[in-house]
């Protein structure tokens, strides 16, 4: 019988890094991944993308969206459904905001989605994640920003949240490893702001991705603009974004061709995804140090970890009960109980919680790793506010990576003691996300004056409209709220595991940040001569909305998720207030490590993947240390 040093649940970026680091040190690793594992499926995924009329982040990936609209594929039948944004959002809180009701008056939430919403929830969870080998890095944008030093000290500096238990200098060291792994393309001098510093001899692995023509024009238009942030004067400078995509080709690497489809999928693999790291880990040579003459890393796809078993005497995790399936539903299921000295769960901020809560036992009555009662709590995202307009000059969007620059200078300031900070992702896909362009633009022109809906007049109209489109995406920091949480639902998946239920709201801190985002948009647009086309969709109950106070006037705005699900098993120094320590090690079970953005005590304004990777390197050292001690 094979033995393993470590079992890792989840084959996303955190699990992949952990596997690679352990295997490099000669440890035997078994990775369990709930979803499928055919890494040669990129073209199949692209076909799904091309033929999808709404280009959702999860659209290209199995289980495919099309099957989700068939009642035979509802989540209680599927073995490893993942969260989908093909949801029905209508429920009572929306009526209070003037949002229309569905014609048939249903108040169903999320009929086709795996995660349920608590009826008291003010918002649906707005972000999605993947369950397949490579995880959510299949559909990430590639943004590889570091957190700011102040992001780790929000309790001390601004009076909210909880400080991170890691000195920023230590995180910086692991950021360098993460950037090397992802092969981040960036220029150090563009990233040296708001307290981020680099060692003098440090260089990013690849030169920066060139800023889009659109970015450059907007930067010029914004010249000389100052913004008042509660008495602080901030200048909205446009910085190039560090990106997990290849600015130049390397050995076995393709350079980014600007396909503009980074979310949900890079067609040529120029954007990093965790399958790269997994392939590396799986192909580590069986050398003379490998006494068992077998690969160091074994990957079992379509295998769902259902329960962690706790030894009542030692409180250690002794085994993982898992089920392997052969089809998405109604197939063969094989049960297995797997053991290893160390267990790592890296299944994202929802699925990790689900596994912990589904592992209740006499020894762990609130669930594994949950003596503090904090598992599932403090669910956070970056709440997205979109604004869009028509530039006075052509910007030529729909080219390049979906975003090449951001306004980063608004990520920090004393104002954070009053309202959330944000960064602004500047889009290169026109009004694609915000308003469905170009299809909606075409349809609008075709339905207009027939004399202008064909030939050269059609070309002139469409070209004028499409080339001047610009879009801002404000990623608004959300504070940790204990009531925002993931719990066990009274509903099951096709394998008989309880599904997750979410209770979620934006919170006052973020709502005030959104109000500031609205005012910031207005100031920038006014300065730049951009015609504001931002229009909330309140008529369609499929668009979640919130109400914010903008200078005394109530304003309804649509909000979206950034895909950054965080905070549900936070790290800290106090076992009564946190789930894991700074090494991502459970306070309750010394041989259990929980990876991923669920450990973030606060979220700052950086997209989380680089930090997830950095923390995975830190945790891998702790696991190796523990394995060495076990000998």
């Amino acid at each position: 019988m094979k033995t393993y040093d470590v079992i890792i649940v989840g084959a996303g970026i955190a699990g992949a890094i952990m596997a690679r680091e352990l295997a490099k040190a000669g440890k035997y690793v078994l990775i369990l991944e709930a979803g499928p594992g055919d890494t040669s499926s990129r073209q199949d995924y692209m076909s799904q993308f091309y033929t999808a009329t709404i280009k959702l982040p999860e659209g290209p990936y199995p289980p495919y969206s099309a099957s989700n609209t068939d009642d035979s594929s509802l989540p209680d039948k599927l073995y490893a459904q993942r969260y989908t944004s093909l949801m029905q959002f209508n429920w009572p809180p929306y009526d209070q905001r003037g949002t229309a009701k569905w014609d048939d008056g249903i108040v169903t939430f999320n009929k086709y989605s795996h995660v349920l919403a608590d009826p008291d929830s003010q918002l649906p969870l707005l972000s999605t994640y993947e369950r397949l080998v490579g995880g959510t890095t299949w559909h990430w944008l590639g943004t590889s920003l570091r957190l700011l030093p102040s992001d780790l000290k929000t309790r001390t500096s601004f009076g909210y949240g909880a400080d991170w238990p890691i000195p920023y200098e230590e995180l910086s060291d692991d950021y360098m490893q993460a950037e090397e792994l992802i092969k981040v393309s960036a220029d150090k001098k563009d990233q040296d702001y708001l307290g981020i510093t680099f060692k003098p001899d440090y260089q990013y692995p690849k030169e920066a991705i060139v800023r889009s023509y659109s970015d450059q024009q907007l930067d010029k238009l914004m010249a000389g603009l100052s913004l008042d942030f509660d008495g602080e004067v901030l200048k909205p400078s446009v910085n190039s974004t560090p990106q997990g995509r290849n600015s130049v080709a390397g050995e076995g690497e393709t350079a980014c061709m600007g396909n503009n489809s980074c979310i949900p999928l890079c067609p040529i693999g120029a954007k990093y995804d965790a399958t790269r790291t997994l392939v590396e880990a799986l192909s580590l040579p069986i050398d003379k140090n490998n006494t068992n003459k077998r690969p160091f890393v074994e990957l079992r796809a379509r295998t769902v970890a259902c329960r962690l078993n706790v030894d009542p005497q030692t409180n250690r995790i002794v085994s993982v009960f898992a089920k392997t399936y052969d089809r998405e539903q109604s197939g063969n299921v094989r049960e297995q109980t797997l053991t290893a000295p160390v267990i790592v769960v890296a299944a994202h901020a929802i699925e990790t919680v689900r596994l912990l809560l589904n592992s209740k036992s006499e020894r762990a009555p609130k669930g594994v790793a949950n003596s503090s009662g904090q598992v599932g709590r403090n669910l956070m995202d970056h709440i997205v506010y979109l604004s869009w307009g028509r530039s006075p000059v052509p910007l030529y969007p729909f080219r390049g990576p979906r975003s090449t620059s951001g306004i980063e200078s608004l990520r920090d300031g004393k104002f954070r003691s009053k309202h959330a900070a944000f960064r602004v992702d500047i889009g290169n896909e026109g009004w694609g996300w915000s308003a469905g362009a170009p299809a909606t633009t075409v349809a609008s022109v075709l339905k207009g004056d027939p004399g202008k809906a064909y030939g050269s007049e059609l070309v002139r109209t469409l070209n004028d409209q499409l080339t001047r489109m610009m879009r801002f995406c404000f990623l608004v920091e959300q504070e940790p709220l204990a009531r925002n949480r993931v719990t066990q639902a009274s509903a099951w998946d096709g394998l008989g595991n309880a599904r997750a239920q979410v209770t979620y709201e934006a919170g006052d801190y973020a709502l005030k940040g959104i109000a500031k985002a609205i005012k910031t948009t207005r100031a920038i647009f006014r300065h730049c001569g951009i015609e504001d086309f931002t229009e909330p969709n309140l008529a369609d109950p499929g668009y979640p909305s919130v109400t914010v106070d903008v200078d005394g006037a109530a304003q309804h705005v649509n909000v979206y998720g950034a895909g950054h699900i965080m905070g549900t098993y936070r790290m800290g120094t106090d076992p009564a207030q946190a789930v894991v320590n700074s090494d991502q090690q459970s306070f309750d079970h010394p041989n259990l490590f929980l990876l991923g953005s669920g450990t973030f005590p606060t979220v700052g304004t950086a997209n989380p993947t680089l930090t997830i990777a950095a923390l995975a390197f830190r945790a891998s050292r702790a696991v190796l240390k523990q394995l060495a001690a076990l000998r």
């Binding site: 033929t51 009329t53 889009s212 023509y213 600007g258 075709l446 059609l458 070209n463």
Partner: protein
């Protein structure tokens, strides 16, 4: 002698404002004609797509400028009663649906983006609106690395003279 495909390509080029050679290249890959006939038959009634092509060919053959013929079609000047059970109007609605289809790759008899279906990957990647935007379909870039930092080529390079 105009073949059926020649008629279709001229109709699409006149509708979209994209040159005949560029429309031909797109149709070679995406078979917009075959898809159009199949989709239109389903939504507008059997034979309605062919009727449209015949009508357009007849108008042009009689000396009407192609642009005037297309304008008349879109304006409903040649509309007639739809077949029983088919609510959409030949020929205004069908011409508008065809235009949406070749421009975006998405078919909707109502010209409604929320009702569209995209019948094939090629229908999306070859769709003509991207040329008019001086860009490329998402996930189908032939531009070189870092080219997005510069002005795109002139519009005429994309849509043809």
């Amino acid at each position: 002698m105009q073949t059926r495909r020649d008629t279709f390509l001229l109709l699409v080029a006149t509708l979209s404002g994209v040159s005949l050679p560029n429309v031909t290249i797109a149709d070679d890959v995406a078979d917009y004609l075959g898809n159009f006939v199949s989709l239109a038959d389903k939504d507008f009634g059997p034979g309605q797509a062919e009727e449209l092509l015949k009508l357009f060919n007849s108008l042009v053959s009689q000396g009407m400028p192609a642009g005037d013929a297309v304008h008349g079609l879109l304006a409903g000047r040649f509309d007639r009663k739809p077949p029983p059970g088919y609510p959409q109007q030949p020929y205004g609605d069908i011409t508008r649906a065809l235009s949406l289809f070749v421009l975006t790759g998405g078919w909707s008899a109502q010209c409604d983006p929320e009702q569209m279906i995209i019948p094939s990957s090629d229908a999306y990647t070859q769709s003509l609106v991207w040329l008019i935007a001086q860009a490329h379909a998402q996930g189908n870039s032939n531009a070189g690395p870092q080219s997005w930092g510069d002005l795109p080529d002139a519009l005429s390079t994309f849509i043809g003279g």
